[in-house]
Symmetry: C2
Subunit: 104 residues, 2 copies
C-alpha cells in the first residue's frame, strides 16, 4: 500500500512502532487498523536519498492491507509492450477478507 | 527509488518496457539511465487499488539506481521506539558507483 504521512504521523510511527498515516482528503491522522484491526507492526523504516519518501517493512496483522479486501493494493498488472488502450490483469487478487464486514 | 510519471511517461514505459519518469521540478520527461546508462528493464508493472500509484519490478542495468551512487535510494533506516531527535542508520549504504563520473 501507499499512503501519506505528515510529521505527527511519522513521530507516532517512530514512537509506537506501529504505522500511522495522514489522510490529505480527510485532513486527519489515522492509524492503520484502527477500524479493521489490521494494524501494521513496523519492522523497519527507511528513508530515501532526498528524504521525501519512506519505505516501511511491516508485519501486517490480519489477512490483508487493502481496503478492497486483498492482501496488497497492487493486485493488478499493466501488460507491457502494447500501445493504445490496455486491459489490467489480476495478480494475487483473491479477496482474503470481506471489506463490508471489516469496515463498518 | 521513487519517482513520478505523467501520462506520457506511463505510455512510453508500457510501450518500450523500459522505465520513463516525469520530473515535476524540471517539467520534463526523462528516461531512467539516459545519462548514467543505468536503464531499468521493467519486468512487471502494477497499479494500486485507487489507480494513483504504480509499482515497478525492474531489472536494473548497471550497479545501482540511486543518484548518490548506492544500489537503492533507501540506504538509511530510522530507529524506532524513540521520542524526540533521532540519528539515521546506514543500511546497504556502500557506494557501488561514483556519481561524479556517471553523471557528467
Amino acid at each position: 500500500m501507499v499512503a501519506h504521512m505528515n510529521d505527527e504521523a511519522l513521530r507516532k510511527t517512530i514512537a509506537s512502532g506501529e504505522a500511522w498515516y495522514y489522510s490529505r482528503s480527510r485532513k486527519a491522522l489515522w492509524k492503520k487498523g484502527e477500524t479493521s484491526g489490521h494494524v501494521q507492526r513496523v519492522l523497519e523504516l527507511r528513508v530515501d536519498c532526498d528524504q521525501d519518501a519512506l519505505w516501511l517493512k511491516v508485519e501486517q496483522q490480519g489477512p490483508g492491507a487493502c481496503h478492497t479486501g486483498r492482501r496488497s493494493c497492487f493486485y493488478r498488472a499493466v501488460p507491457l509492450g502494447k500501445a493504445g488502450s490496455t486491459t489490467l490483469e489480476f495478480r494475487d487478487a483473491d479477496k482474503v477478507f470481506d471489506p463490508g464486514k471489516v469496515y463498518k
